[in-house]
Structure formats: structure tokens, C-alpha cells
């Protein structure tokens, strides 16, 4: 670790801290229907949307209707995305003729399983990419299918978080807001304006934005190079702001056209945390006690700091095996040292470790470096961040309601220890809340472990339909513990709706597309629906007045409790798996052990 590297992380965090309050206050105004400075511009548009869609702006919904709207909308999303993907050959904005016979050599076909996987991936805000963007999808698909989901899946997640906040804020109420209104307002007042500004900044620094066909050039040494084009900057902005993470290109935010300079990189990581951090303040504002929001913020900060510095430390320390071969492992001022495999020169170690931590703290999944090539412990950080349900600031909305679910579990156990039925923000936590919080945590843990377990051993015939390479482990790019980490990472990323990968694993086969797609859907809705049930349940409850007998939920003790709950639940659930992946690999790497790809014996 270098002073300047630490400085980058510290300055980053100070900026996040500084924008939390204004952002949070603004969002509170938006979701409480108050007037904002954007009203002159957006209000007529908002009214128009309600008129076109037949939504009654003043009609609030109970949790059941809210959830029904969410599911109906997700269904519509799925069908739209799937149809556009499959029909891209006859749709406009397709200069490279993807999906037609005129597609360039090397273009990948959009099979039904890939289309399903991608639709599930984008509607769930996962943005897992089983495809390589530059050789698969037309600009129309990127804009009108994928980028649209970047907006609305983010808005839906934020809407659910806001509904849950209303559950805490309201007193003996049945309604928790209107999904359509929350979705529309979030898109119009928050996502679109910020994306627009960010897109212009990205473009000014070098991110591309056009509808041209790819450019053929003759390089200086005389070979040909095909330089891809497309409307990248506009998509890049929402990809980060909405913690979606689906890159225009395969290399995602490591691609120079997506993320051209260290400055754009810095803005990208800020965009990821912008809304999640702001939501903590929105929460405090809406429940009438901003200290409550700051307490959550503090817990997230501790977990973030722990993750980023562990990751940075191990990445900066580098790979001892390479050091032995004569590669410089220390920072020297004119070269970065450390583990540069899978990292970009312009970002170096600190910005890469920061990005990796932030993108998995949040459910973003954009990457500016290849996590697969991280050192074992450096890679364990993103893995663990995801497995604890991405609650460290977290995905837009999802991170926040995820953290509240952890708070419910933590407060329930600890609350008993003060001798009262546990209360959080004046709401008694009883059977239903505990059941739903456990259900959410359980569902994702189950999906991760069970799918990873099956995939570790499932046999398939070579060149069969389900997995042409053979057994599921034949798709790995590494063997030994690291190969296992690739599986574990994939099945952690999908249900947690992250979308980043230990990308060595080849996942565009029916087995992986279907199981990962399923994992994404379960992970999204098995978390959202319980959150909405809790919202409805809490809204109906009375608010118990705060007294000195109430467990305080705005002090250091609570922060510690919340941090402890997240770590303990995560560690206890995944310790065995992590021990067989990154942990053992760490010990083995220091012992200099290497793994060659084994051809697995056919299952008998």
C-alpha cells in the first residue's frame, strides 16, 4: 500500500460522505412528493406518463398490490428484453448486422438460453454478462432493452427500499406507497438527470457515443484492427448510477472506451455509491431521525473500509510466485508493483482494489480489473461482500433493504438481551418480520451453496446440449481451489444480483445460463418480496414511544452490532466454502503450489 493509494481511497470516501446528505435529502423530497428544483422540467413529463399509462398518482397501494405491480412490471420487462434480443436482426440501429447472416465473423448467436439469461440478468439488476457485448448485441438491444432495464430495475429496487422505509415511518397504516409513482419519480428526478450529466462527463474524457459501424484501421505496424463503436457513454452512466454493472463491452469498465481515465474511474466509483449512500440519509429523514440513517451509514462504512484495505493490501503485496520469477512486487514510483495481472496501467492497484470492493459492496458488478486474477484474499473480499448479501451501501435500494433485514435479525437477538420484545424504530419485531428476514437471507444462501454444490460435481456428456465442454467443471479456466472459487463466485454473483465474475469460467452454455438465470430471479424476488411483506407488516403496527428501556439504534453499540451480525452470519454460512476456495489457495500460493488444468475423469 502506498500513501497516494490510501489517499485515493480516503478522498473517495470523503466525497461519498459529503454527497450523502444532499443526495439523501433530495431523494426524500422526491419520494414524499415534494417539489424539487427539477419540477419545472420534469413535472409535465411525469403527468404525461401517468396519463399514458393510466396510473392514478394519488392511489396508494397495500404491500400485496405493490408486490403485484412489481412482479407484473418484471414480467413485462422480461418479455420486452427477450423479444428485442431475439429480434435484433430485424430491428434498427444494427450497423454490424448482428442476428443476421451479414454479422461479422466471430459474432455470437443469441440462443434462447442466452436471451433468457440476459433478460433475467438485466431485469433483476444483476447484469451478469454471459455474452460479449461487442460481438453479440446491436445498438438497439443495448439501448432499448438493456439500458432501459438499467434504469427501471434500479428504480424498482429503490422503490422497494422506499416502501420499506415507509413501513417503518408510518403508524397504523395499510398503504406503503404506489409502485408506479415511485418508479416514475425515481427515473425522472433521480436517474435520468444524473445519468445525463455523467454521460457528458464520460464522453468529454473519451467514452464514445455514436451509432457508427465499427471502424477498421491499419495499425502502425500494418496489421488491421477493428475498433468498435456505439452509444457507450449514455449507457455507462446509468450502468454505475443504477448499480447495474452491465458493460457495453466484454471488458466492462476496464475497457478504455467505457472508462478512459483515472478521473472517469473515480467518478464511476462515486456513482456506484451515490444512491445507496444517499438512501441512508433518506431513511433517516423519512423516519424522522437522521441519526438512524447515519448509524446505518457508519456500519456500512466500517465494513467498506475493512474490505477495501484488506483487498488493497493483498493486491499491493502481489503474487509471491511471480516475485520469485523476478517481477517487481513493490511500488517504485514509476511502476505500480503488486499484482498487475488483470489490471489496467492507468488505474494501478489502489483504484482497482477500490473498484472491486465498491462494485461488490454494492450490487453493481461493473469491473475495472479482472477479479479472477486477484490474489486469493484480494478476491475473497469481493466474494465475501456478495455473500453477505451486498449490504455495504449495496445495490440501489436492494443494499439498503438488505441491510435493514440484517438490522432486523441483529436487533431481534440483541433486543431480547435488554429484556423487551425487540423494537426497531418503535416497531416491534415479531414472528413475521423475523420469518421474512430469515427467509431472504436463507434463500440467497441456499441458492449460492446448492447451485455451487451441484455445479462442482455434475457430469455432462461432451458436446451434449446442456454443457458442450463436458462436465460443468470443464468450463473452468483454473483448477484447484481457484477453479472452485470461479464456481462459487459465479453462483454468489447471480443470486446476489451483482453480475461481476471470476470471468475465466465460460458460462454461455445452457446449464450455466439456466441455473444462473434462475439464481438471479430467486435472489431478486426472494429478497424483495419479504422486504415488501415486512414493509406492509410494519406499516400496520403502532409506533412504540422511545424510552430509556428501548434498545438505542443510533449509537456506536448498534453500529457494532449490525457490523457483527453481517460478518458473523456471512462467515458462519460461507466459511467452509471459502476455506476450500480462497483461504486454502492463499496458503498454497505462499507455499508456491501451482495447479494445472486436469482433464476430469468422466463421471462413472
Amino acid at each position: 500500500m502506498t500513501p497516494i493509494g490510501i489517499l485515493q481511497i480516503v478522498v473517495y470516501f470523503i466525497v461519498v460522505l459529503a454527497i450523502t446528505k444532499p443526495m439523501g435529502a433530495f431523494m426524500a423530497r422526491v419520494f414524499q412528493g415534494e417539489r424539487t428544483f427539477l419540477h419545472p422540467l420534469m413535472r409535465p413529463l411525469e403527468r404525461l406518463i401517468y396519463r399514458l399509462t393510466g396510473v392514478n398518482e394519488d392511489g396508494e397501494q397495500r404491500w400485496t398490490q405493490y408486490a403485484a405491480s412489481l412482479i407484473a412490471f418484471s414480467l413485462a420487462s422480461f418479455l420486452f428484453v427477450y423479444a428485442i434480443e431475439r429480434l435484433q436482426g430485424i430491428l434498427p440501429f444494427n450497423p454490424m448486422h448482428f442476428g443476421t447472416k451479414a454479422a461479422p465473423p466471430g459474432a455470437a448467436p443469441v440462443t434462447p438460453d442466452l436471451a433468457y439469461n440476459t433478460a433475467a440478468s438485466f431485469l433483476t439488476n444483476t447484469n451478469w454478462q454471459a455474452y460479449s457485448g461487442e460481438m453479440t448485441f446491436s445498438y438497439f438491444v443495448q439501448m432499448a432493452a438493456l439500458a432501459v432495464q438499467n434504469f427501471v430495475s434500479a428504480a424498482a429496487g429503490i422503490a422497494v427500499a422506499v416502501a420499506l422505509i415507509r413501513g417503518f415511518a408510518r403508524h397504523q397504516a395499510r398503504a406503503i406507497g404506489n409502485f408506479w409513482v415511485d418508479l416514475t419519480r425515481c427515473t425522472l428526478y433521480i436517474l435520468l438527470p444524473i445519468s445525463f450529466v455523467a454521460a457528458l462527463i464520460f464522453c468529454s474524457r473519451g467514452a464514445i457515443q455514436n451509432f457508427h459501424a465499427y471502424t477498421q484501421v491499419k495499425t502502425l505496424e500494418g496489421s488491421t484492427q477493428t475498433i468498435p463503436q456505439g452509444p457507450v457513454a449514455s449507457q455507462e452512466a446509468i450502468k454505475l448510477l443504477g448499480t447495474n454493472g452491465g458493460g457495453f463491452f466484454n471488458a466492462n469498465s476496464a475497457h478504455p472506451f467505457e472508462n478512459p481515465t483515472p478521473l472517469t474511474d473515480f467518478i464511476q466509483v462515486i456513482l456506484i455509491f451515490l444512491i445507496p449512500a444517499g438512501l441512508t440519509y433518506t431513511f433517516g429523514r423519512m423516519v424522522g431521525d437522521t441519526r438512524q440513517g447515519w448509524a446505518i451509514f457508519a456500519a456500512m462504512t466500517i465494513l467498506f473500509a475493512a474490505g477495501v484495505f484488506v483487498c488493497y493490501h493483498y493486491e499491493a503485496a502481489g503474487n509471491p510466485i511471480l516475485a520469485k520469477l523476478g517481477v517487481e512486487s513493490k511500488y517504485t514510483g514509476s511502476q505500480p508493483g503488486g499484482n498487475m495481472e488483470g489490471k489496467e496501467t492507468r488505474f494501478g492497484i489502489a483504484q482497482s482494489a477500490l473498484f472491486a470492493t465498491v462494485t461488490t459492496d454494492a450490487s453493481c458488478g461493473a469491473v475495472n480489473s479482472m477479479h479472477d486474477s486477484y490474489t486469493p484474499i484480494g478476491g475473497l473480499v469481493p466474494l465475501f461482500n456478495m455473500e453477505t448479501d451486498e449490504v455495504i451501501f449495496g445495490g440501489v435500494g436492494s443494499g439498503f433493504y438488505g441491510m435493514l433485514l440484517y438490522a432486523i435479525v441483529g436487533v431481534f437477538i440483541a433486543g431480547l438481551m435488554v429484556g423487551r420484545t425487540p423494537e426497531y424504530l418503535g416497531k416491534k419485531l415479531q414472528q413475521k418480520e423475523v420469518k421474512m428476514a430469515m427467509l431472504a437471507i436463507l434463500a440467497t444462501a441456499f441458492v449460492i451453496l446448492v447451485f455451487a454444490g451441484i455445479t462442482s460435481v455434475i457430469p455432462f456428456a461432451k458436446n451434449g446440449y446442456w454443457n458442450p465442454p463436458g462436465p460443468a467443471t470443464a468450463n473452468l479456466n483454473n483448477s484447484g481451489p481457484h477453479g472452485f472459487s470461479e464456481i462459487l463466485y459465479a453462483y454468489s454473483s447471480a443470486p446476489e444480483n451483482n453480475g461481476s465474475a471470476f470471468a475465466g469460467i465460460s458460462v454461455d452454455t445452457p446449464w450455466y445460463n439456466l441455473t444462473l438465470g434462475l439464481a438471479m430471479l430467486i435472489g431478486r424476488f426472494a429478497f424483495m418480496i419479504p422486504a415488501l411483506v415486512i414493509a406492509g407488516c410494519l406499516a400496520e403496527k403502532k409506533k412504540v414511544p422511545i424510552s430509556s428501556g428501548t434498545l438505542p439504534t443510533h449509537d456506536a453499540l448498534f453500529v457494532g452490532l449490525l457490523v457483527g451480525t453481517v460478518i458473523v452470519v456471512g462467515a458462519l454460512t460461507f466459511f467452509p466454502a471459502l476455506a476450500l476456495g480462497p483461504l486454502v489457495e492463499h496458503f498454497l500460493m505462499h507455499g508456491g503450489k501451482l495447479f494445472t488444468m486436469l482433464i476430469f475423469p468422466r463421471w462413472s
Binding site: G54, E134, I208, Q209, V217, I227, T332, E341, S373
Partner: protein
């Protein structure tokens, strides 16, 4: 649930038009007006023809050019339609074999260079299109380039210094040297 379907599809359609067509359309228009060079790929011209993009790395193998980092994009590297990293884990024997081979090649091509190899020059980048190398990796190649071109080493080192981009705002990222720009500058010198 069924009552929610109609507004769901209407909302989806409205959002598709708004965020999927109008938004990128306006962004494109504004960018094409204000940042046409960047918006179209920061293309670099030499001798009146496009030789690449300043942001996209390309392969250099000749001794008179500075060489970029190893690339895993496409079979031969630096294929922008196949961006991505090598994705080898730290205990992968294939990683170690590749690095060992690249070290040997680097040492062979740059016999004057002693000491530990700069970390970036034998490791594959994340995008496979990294346009930059670290200043150390450039200085390590300077004697070879100077010799192949028959220009004084001092001039080459001067160019490296000139083309070393500092950290934006003095603290972000790492200092770096754009390989294509540096090589173009060398060519310009020789003309």
C-alpha cells in the same frame, strides 16, 4: 395481479421510449456537437490515415517500437472485438508459464535492462486493450528502441518523459505512457 399487467406493459413501453431512445438520442446529439473527437473514438491519424485509437492499445513487436503489455484480447492480442483479460488465478500454472516466457523474451529483447521486471509489462491487462505502460516499463525498453532507431538514448528518454501522463488531479490512478502516442512521436522524430 392481472389488473397490474396492463399498466405494466404500458409503463414498460413508455420507459423504453424515454430511457431507451430519447435519452441516448439526446446524449448522442449533445456529445457529437461538443465532443465529436471523443464521441467517435479518439481516432488518431498519421500520414492522413487512421492508425488507431488513442485509447485502444495495439500490438507492437518490432524492436524500434515500444511494446505494450501482454494482451489476452483475441488469439493474437489487442483485438478490440474480443476485449477481456486472461483470467488466470494466482496459482495457475498457465499464468506462471506465460509470465516466465514473457520475462525471458523481455530480458532477451532488452539485454541492457537489469533488475526486477516492472510489474505491468509481463502481466496481461484487464481489457486486453490497455493503451498504456508504466514509465518504468518504457524506460526499460528505451535502450533497445534507441539502438534500433539509431537515435540517442537521451532523446528517447526525453520523449518518454514528455509522453508520461501524470495522475489526474495529482493523486488519481497511476502515471502512464501511451504506447501508440509515444511510438508516433518516435516516428515523427525519424521523419
Amino acid at each position: 395481479m392481472r389488473r397490474q399487467l396492463a399498466p405494466a406493459f404500458r409503463m414498460m413501453l413508455v420507459m423504453t421510449i424515454l430511457t431507451g431512445l430519447i435519452y441516448p438520442g439526446i446524449v448522442t446529439a449533445v456529445c457529437q456537437i461538443f465532443f465529436p473527437r471523443q464521441a467517435n473514438g479518439s481516432l488518431v491519424r498519421a500520414d492522413g490515415r487512421i492508425v488507431g485509437s488513442a485509447l485502444i492499445g495495439q500490438n507492437f513487436t518490432k524492436p524500434e517500437y515500444f511494446h505494450p503489455r501482454p494482451s489476452a484480447a483475441g488469439t493474437d492480442g489487442y483485438n478490440p472485438t474480443a476485449s477481456g483479460g486472461a483470467n488466470y488465478g494466482p496459482t495457475s500454472s498457465r499464468l506462471i508459464e506465460r509470465v516466465r516466457a514473457d520475462i525471458a523474451k523481455f530480458r532477451e529483447q532488452n539485454p541492457q535492462f537489469q533488475g526486477p521486471i516492472p510489474a505491468d509489462i509481463v502481466t496481461a491487462s484487464a481489457s486486453g486493450l490497455d493503451p498504456d505502460i508504466s514509465p518504468a516499463a518504457a524506460y526499460a525498453q528505451a535502450p533497445r528502441v534507441a539502438k534500433a532507431r539509431g537515435v540517442p538514448l537521451a532523446r528517447v528518454r526525453q520523449l518518454i518523459e514528455q509522453y508520461t501522463e501524470p495522475r489526474p488531479l495529482d493523486f488519481l490512478g497511476e502515471p502512464r505512457v501511451n504506447v501508440l502516442k509515444l511510438n508516433l512521436a518516435l516516428d515523427g522524430d525519424n521523419r
